[in-house]
């Protein structure tokens, strides 16, 4: 007699498999829906402004004029300030945790990072607007926003850099030390070349986060219209900050313009994230010798 392994249970089994696949596919569905719906809702403003949406600098909802260039600039500028502050600190932190600190010291560092990552962005924003902006004459400006964003992206850059750095083969490091290298020379000769690719990816992921961060930037950036300046202490505006600050009193066309900003932001962050994820994954695979 043959054992029947395909009774009614087989249907339940298959149903479970398909529902699991559907749940996994939900990621693709949601991403696709985001792209379709927000692009669709932004068409009125593109019909009105055309390419000038990206090339003109006058943003005046009352006159139905929407030139987003200053906000694109503001987003890029604050993100660059944030990176300039966060990258050296994160790399220093990651190197300290992996190359210098004994395990006893490393644990509290991990907690420190978790704590920093756990503070909600709106709380950083509150601190930024009521405390930080009152100090050193910072005011509400690109610089204040850059500092707050830097604090917020340090945990992600640090933790990814740590993961990448930890894949350095111990043999490389020991070899460098055996040849008489000091610790710093060992880091330059063995650790950095090995993890350079992954570090670039980690920094790019930080860049993506900095550009998309809304609430903290909206609170401290100063909401100035039409500013394209390289003066870091001038008040400015960024794409997500404009969306958050103007949504409440926007009419239909204005809303469509704000959604168009979101589309721009979505495309930029998706491209940055695609690049970064690819780079990190590739370097991790290389490190594991696959």
């Amino acid at each position: 007699m043959e054992l029947d392994l395909r009774g009614s249970k087989a249907y339940a089994d298959r149903a479970f498999r398909w529902s699991a696949a559907a749940a996994a596919g939900l990621v693709l569905v949601v991403l696709g829906l985001i792209a379709i719906t927000i692009t669709g809702r932004s068409t009125p403003v593109f019909r009105q402004m055309g390419v000038q949406f990206f090339t003109t600098t006058r943003w005046s909802p009352a006159d139905a004029l929407f030139g987003a260039l200053p906000f694109v600039w503001g987003t890029a500028f604050t993100a660059l300030i944030a990176l300039a502050i966060a990258v050296p600190i994160s790399l220093g932190m990651a190197l300290f945790m992996t190359q210098v600190a004994p395990p006893r010291v490393k644990r509290p560092m991990v907690y420190l990072m978790d704590l920093l990552a756990g503070v909600p962005s709106v709380v950083f924003g509150l601190w930024g607007v009521l405390v930080l902006s009152q100090l050193f004459g910072l005011g509400r400006s690109f610089m204040t926003a850059g500092i707050i964003l830097a604090i917020m992206i340090i945990p992600i850059i640090t933790s990814l850099s740590r993961e990448v750095i930890e894949t350095t083969p111990p043999g490389d490091k020991e070899g460098a030390l055996a040849l008489g290298c000091t610790r710093w020379e060992m880091i330059r000769a063995a650790v950095i070349p090995h993890s350079a690719g992954g570090l670039v990816g980690a920094i790019m992921l930080g860049l993506g986060r900095a550009m998309g961060e809304t609430i903290a930037a909206a609170l401290v950036i100063g909401s100035a219209l039409g500013q394209i300046t390289i003066h870091p202490f001038a008040p400015g505006n960024s794409m997500p900050a404009v969306i958050a600050n103007e949504w409440g009193e926007a009419d239909a066309l204005h809303k469509s313009a704000l959604i168009a900003l979101a589309v721009t932001l979505f495309i930029i962050t998706i491209v940055v994230n695609l690049f970064a994820t690819t780079i990190v994954q590739r370097s991790m695979k290389k490190a594991q010798g696959l």
Binding site: V123, G212, I215
Partner: protein, 301 residues
């Protein structure tokens, strides 16, 4: 005796320290910079936490525990009042988001790890889920505004949908990591007893990975509880208690902080600090719960 001293001098290694000095000083400077970067991270954290504690405690202690339950004054400059509706709103929005995102995320991760480890579909999903975790939360908020709020109006549930979208990739990622840790022989033992694959997953694999899944999900919850941007579009702005998940505008702690932070009235700023302390306490409690669960797995192994 003299001879012995001479011998010792001859055997002693050549002194290289003078030549090395610049190199070792450089290494020392670099190590010093690394330590300095630790300070650069700790300083703002201490500043933020101490500001929230100091100014938040002053507000909360002034009316304890009334601050957590009283209604929010409709006139910003009026002192007093509390954050009761916002506490309830945060719990409702985050709770419903958890109920949506965690089952779906766990199920998705089960597919990625138990069914389609290496096929193209799961590779694509894994990659896109990493990409999705980088989508700015404000974009997620506008997406929910278009597909939900435009049709059904403001409600706490709209906010839950937005937060669920943000949590989904995080839950998928952390759950898959935990499923990887379940030893293979557990699955094989279950198959050998004649269990089907779905039964094995439900009764053997998931229970084994449960503490890790719970702690990963709790971290995602803590993250979501602090989100503000998506709620601006989907939840609306109310100052009264609204216990209905699907009806009428609601509020949340993060939204109240955002609204009150830029107010020029001291009373409103005080409420913002009080709400910030409450929010930090909520996220801290959730994170602590996650830590306890993680510690429990660590002890088991």
């Amino acid at each position: 005796m003299q001879l012995a001293q001479q011998e010792q001098a001859a055997v002693a290694p050549p002194d290289l320290s003078a030549k090395q000095s610049w190199r070792s000083v450089k290494s020392l400077i670099m190590t010093g910079l690394m330590v300095a970067s630790v300070a650069a991270v700790a300083l703002p954290l201490v500043a933020v936490v101490s500001a929230v504690l100091r100014r938040g405690l002053a507000v909360v202690a002034h009316d304890f525990p009334g601050f957590f339950v009283n209604e929010i004054p409709n006139i910003a400059r009026r002192p007093g009042g509390g954050m009761g509706p916002a506490v309830l709103g945060t719990l409702m929005v985050t709770g419903a988001a958890t109920l949506i995102a965690v089952p779906l995320g766990v199920l998705g991760a089960v597919y990625l790890h138990e069914y389609g480890v290496k096929n193209h579909f799961s590779r694509l999903v894994r990659f896109m889920s990493t990409v999705m975790s980088g989508v700015p939360s404000i974009v997620m908020g506008l997406f929910i505004y278009i597909v939900w709020t435009l049709h059904f109006g403001y409600s706490a549930f709209g906010g839950s949908l937005a937060l669920a979208c943000l949590m989904l990739p995080v839950v998928i990622g952390s759950t898959e990591q935990m499923l990887k840790l379940v030893p293979h022989h557990l699955r094989e033992a279950s198959y050998a007893l004649g269990s089907s694959k779905s039964r094995t997953i439900l009764t053997v694999v998931l229970p084994a990975a449960l503490p890790g899944i719970v702690s990963g999900s709790l971290l995602a919850v803590a993250r979501a509880a602090g989100e503000t941007a998506p709620l601006l579009f989907a939840v609306g702005a109310a100052n009264e208690y609204n216990p209905h998940l699907f009806e009428e505008a609601n509020t949340a702690l993060s939204v109240q902080i955002f609204g009150n932070a830029t107010s020029s009235f001291v009373a409103a700023q005080d409420r913002a600090w009080g709400a910030a302390l409450t929010l930090v306490l909520v996220t801290f409690l959730v994170t602590l719960a996650a830590r306890v669960f993680t510690a429990r797995i660590a002890r088991k192994r």
